[in-house]
Every structure is written in structure tokens, then in C-alpha cells.
Amino acid sequence: MAESTKDKIKYRILKTLDVSGFTAFDPVIRLIFGEEPQKQFAAIVKYLVIPAFFVLSCIWFWSWIGPRHKTKSGEVPTPDIVWESVQINDTIAEREKVKRSDFQLKGAEREAALEQVAREYEILSEEVKAAKALVAEKEAEKKAREEKLIAPLEAKYESLKSEYRDAAKARDAEIARISEEVSEGKLEASALIAAIRNDGIATDRERSELNSYKSRIDEIRSQKYKPLDQARKQYDSVADKQFFMKTRLEFLDDRNLYVKLDEAQSELNEYMAELSTAGSAKDALKIAKRAVRAEESVARLEGQEYASAVTIYHQTKRSIFTVFVGFFMAAFVAIPVGIMCGLNKIFMACMTPIISVFKPVSPVVWLLIFQIVVGAFFPDPENHALLNFLNNLPLISSLEINPALIFSACTVAMCAVWPALVNTALGVASIDQDHVNVARVLRLGFWSRLFKIVIPSALPLVFAGLRISLGVGWMVLIAAEALSSSDGLGKFVWDEYQNGSSLTFANIIMVCFVVGIIGFFLDRMMIILQRFVSFDGGGTSV
């Protein structure tokens, strides 16, 4: 009995792997359950270990070739630098969260937090001082080491320089003499030409000699000194933390929502008190005006939220949201139109030219068109009813839906609509003749034929099309976001490219992986859906 439940669990896991397309892990599960270990080991080596080794060797190759290619934005970042930038982005997001909660703290909690942060700030300040001293020390050390190496070279350089200067002077004198003799007719003109030419050659040689020394010195200077780099890194990290604590202090004190509110409120109260004791009508008017202004500022502060800096998580969330908006728009159009195409040859003939012409159009062109056409519906985005409505919905309000998002979503929809449409049409048109005969014998009406025979039999192909659509949409989205500056991963890379900070390159490569991994999961999701609707039980390609 125990055996059978164990088997049941095993087959359930295997089935899950199969449905989600992770069949490569099949032998691992079988091995865990002790099924033919020899065979499973062989399978694991063949389909897991060797591929893993291949991937690792690709990463190794990357880290080897990266630093060997110098670009305008510095070296190509190695995998560890990219990983570091992942951590930095994570830290930024984490800190934004802390700042937000600081901003909203009030009362005793705020004071306690303030006290603690102040203490931490003090400690960090000490650490920063120490780190700074260490950097200075290491810098001196580096300088001393360099001097030792450079001093002989420099001496040699100087001596050569003076030597060459003398030589040049001597040659000049010689040329002057020869020219005089030539003018007097004692010598031929060719002698003067030869002298001048020789002087040029000698000067060039001397200069290159000097330059080689100079470049050797420069090379020594530019050589990295590991302890100094480490000290600098240490200093940077501590200074960064200190700066963060300083910002926290601000958010807990001056820039805190409730502190600001209290201030505004007390100001208002003050004016009110003054108003009741005002001497003249003129004074009263002045004070009353101030009081009204103070009242307004209290009201404004009450509605204020923390203005968070955009984090990679926010951008990712927004990108995923946008791609789904576009994808559902595409599916909403593609499935009915595709069904009509599949059912009616005339309709198909009407649609074919439209599909063929618009399918290959670049997303960039679509984006521009949508910015103009759809943009016309949002003359005043701040007060647009639809946008206000969407931004007040509970789950998506944090995404700050704006026209740029809608343009990007429309672009995604426009590019994603074709594969779904074509596949749906194909699925409907290629319905099994046997099934059609069944419908004819039963004299099914149009709608029941559609819903009971046509759509179910087309469903696997429809989902295959939707899967391609989602993949295309996700690819298009990044470009659309970059171009329309709709917050998202596309804008993130574009901003990085424009900013040109030291992390730019690493961040761009990080986004490359983020986009790839999310795309992978979206695809897997569609594979699973496709498997659920496919009655033939056939596998889906990866």
C-alpha cells in the first residue's frame, strides 16, 4: 500500500514536470524514488550535467573575454560585476521601501526610529573617517611603490632629454654652418638637403625614444594596486550607507509627513489665534489670507505620498502589466477575427492583404502612429476620466497608468495580434472533416457547431498562436517602452544608456537577463495552458 502511494506521488511529480516542460529533471525524480539508478545517472549526466557544464563554460568564456574588450563605456562587465549590479538594484529597492516607511512614521515610533538612525549614523560616520584614512594610507603606499619603480626611469628620461636637446642644438649649428658654406658656394646644395633630412630623422627617433620611457612610466602609474582598490571599495560602501542614513534622518525629521503636517497645523493655529486678537480690519484681512493659505497647505500635505524613485522591481511589474494589457487586447481581436477567417473563405480573402501588409511593419512605426492617433484621445492626461478611473483601482493604482503605457500596450497588441490571428484561422480552417460530418448528421446549428465543434477543435492551435503572440509582445514591449519612455524595463535600459554611470553597462546586461528570464516564464505559462487545452495530449515544443 505504501508502495503505491509512493508511486502515485512520483507519477504526479513526473506529470507536473511533463506539463510544465521541465522533462529534463525527470531522471532526478526517478532517482530520488530509486528507480533504476544506473539508467537515471546516465540520463542525468547526458541531459543535465553536460548542459550545465556547457552553460558554465559559456559564463567562463564571457568573464574571460569581457575585460579584453575596451569600449567607450569601459570594459565589458564580467558576470560578477553584473551580479553586483543586481545586488545594488536590490539594495536601492530595499532602501526605497525603508524611506517610504520612514516618511509615514509618526509619534513615538518616529522618535524611536530617529534616535536609532542617528546613533547608527554616528557609528557610520566614524567608520567613514576610518575608511577615508585607510584610503589615504593606501594611496600613499601606492605612490611610494610607484616612485621606487618610476624614479630610475624618470632619471633616465631626464638625462636622455637633456642629451637629446644638446644633440639637437649641435645639429642645428651644423646645419647653419653648412647653409652658410652653401651660400658661399663652397658646398653643393644637396649637402644642405641631406643635413636637414638627417636632422628630421634623428629628431623623430629621439622623440619616440623619449615617448617610450614616458609610456612606461604612465603604465606603472596606471597599474592597479589591489589594497587601494579594496580600501576605496570599502570606503564607497560605508559612505553609501552613511549617506542613506542621512537621508533616513531627513525623512524621519524635516521631510517626514507628520512632522510637516504638525508644522503646517501649528502655523494655522497660530494664525487663528492671531486673527481673534487682530487690532485692525487691515491686519485681520492679512492674517486671514495667510490662514487660508496655511489651510490649503495642510490639505495638500494630507494627500501627499512618498515620491519613490523608480526601482527595477517597479519597472518589471509595470512591464509585465503592460505586456498583458497588450496581449489581451491582441487576443480580444485576434480570436474572433481568426475564427471568422477560418469559417469564411471570402472573409479570409478580404483579410489576407491586410494581414500580409501590416504583419511585417516594425513596432517602432506602430508606436509613432499610436502616439499620434491614440494620443488624440488624451489631450489632458492629468484629468482624463479613464486614466483617473484606472489609477484609482486598488491593485494597479501603484503602476501609474499614463498615455505612454497605453501607447506601448497598443504597440504590443498590434505586433502580437498577427500570430494569434493566423493560427486561429488555421485551426478553424483545418478542422477534421470527420467532425464536420458528425455536426452535419446531427444538424447542429451555426452557434452550437461553432462552440461545440469548431472552437474546441481549434483550441490547441489558438493557444499555440497566443503563445507566439505573447513572446512577440514581450520582445516588442521593451523597444516600445524605450521609445515612448513608458516606465518599464525598456525605459530602464534606455535611461541607463543615456546616464552613463559606472554601472550602466552592467545594468543593461542585467536587464538583458531579467527580460530573458521573464520571457521564459511567460512562455512556460503559455505552454502549460496549451497543454491543458490540447486533447491530443501531444507534447509542445520548447
Partner: protein, 272 residues
Amino acid sequence: MIEDRYVELFEVVKAYPNPFGEAIKVVDGFNLMVKQGELVSVIGHSGCGKSTVLNMVAGLIPISSGGVIVAGREVTGPGPDRAVVFQAPCLLPWLTCYGNVMLGVKQVFPDASKAERQQMVEYSLCAVGLKDSMHKYPKEMSGGMQQRVGIARAIALRPKMLLLDEPFGRLDSLTRMELQEVILNILNFEKITTMMITHDPDEAVYMSDRICMMTNGPGAKVGEVMDIEFERPRDREEIMETSQFYEYRRRLLQFLDDCEKEKIARKKAKVG
């Protein structure tokens, strides 16, 4: 009177145009009358147009000239009064057996109550021996079981006529015998007028009341009609022991053999 001419095929012609615009008559002047409750087999060489005749009776393909009358009404298109069991089971793979049968029942008996419909579906599935696999999907069943569902789907419609298009053609011989019994049992109860296409002489003799032998196409027609005078219900073993069975079988094979010889002669004449 109507009992004797329950189904009537009168000078039925099926012609297809060839690329040069000439009409090629696949079936040319097919005449047959079927009594109510009778099981008539149509036998002939493959490609002679047996299935074409059946499809015309079913209304799945248009009749070029002549006419088919079923229970006093001329056939103009497909309909559930002439239920078809196809050679392939043709089940909808996204529905269970129950769903497949229910699809037709719902369509044909729209006024029946839910319980009545359920009873009809369950009855017909039980009749083909699928009581325990009602809620299985087609892909979970063997070919023979799937074909049983096909039969259940046909009889659940309470048709005036049952059309069997080589229903056992794709099954192994053991399963075939089982399914022959299934159909005969049902017909013993229900007395549905049946037309069966087959190319197996044993099957034809064992199952039919009459066998309609078709000549080779193109221009196929009824060559000979043979009455089979065994009592019903029939017992396979008993019948197989009679000399009558072998006589019928011999006549059948003789006819098919003659057809083949004639065809070869025709070919030779054409070449010569």
C-alpha cells in the same frame, strides 16, 4: 406497403467531373429497396463506390440524379433520422463518451427533460457494453471501445435508419466479432432498418437479411441481391456449421471473382 419499401434507392447516380469537363459516373443507376427492420449489406471490391452510395443515403454528398427515399421522405441532406457509424470512430476528443453521445441527444430531443436525456444516453452506452467507461475520454480507450461509442451515439438518436460504413474495418478480428454481436443484439431489440457497407463476406452473410452485391466501378450498380434465410436471433457457431452458410459464401465470392475478371478483361480491351 410502406413497410416493404421503407427505404428506396431509385436509379441513383453519382457523377464527378474530370478535369476535361466530362462527367465520370462512379455509381450509375443503383436500385435497391429495403424493408422496414431489415439489415441489408452492400458488398463489393474496394473503390467500387459502396461508401459513395451510403454517403448519398446519409445525405453527406449530393446525389447527381435519381433519388433516395427513407420512410416516405426524399433525402436532401444529412439528418439525425439516418444515423451514421463511420469507419473511424469520429469521436470528439475533448468530450467524454457520455458527452459525445449527449451532444447528439441534446440536439435531437431538445424538449426532453434532463433526466430523460440522461437516461437515453446511459441506456445506449449500456447497450454497447460501456457502462463502466462512460466518463472516459476517447484517447483513454481502445479502438474497439471507441467504435462502441460511435454505435451508441448513432442508436441514441433513435434513427429511422442506421448506416454503417465499414464499421469494423479498422478493428482486429476478435474485436470485430464482439462488435458484430453488439450490433446484432441491439438490432434484435430495436429493429432499426440498417444498411451496412462491408467487404468481408463472412460478416455479410452472418449479419444480413439480404446482401446487395455491387459491380466494379466506374458505373457501378447492383449486380445481384441475395436473400439470407437464417432465423434471428442468430448464433454464430450454429450458422457456421450449416452448409447453407458456405453456399452463400461461395456465391458471394464467385460474384466478386467474376467482377474482378471482368475488370481485368475491360482493362485489357482498353489497352488493346
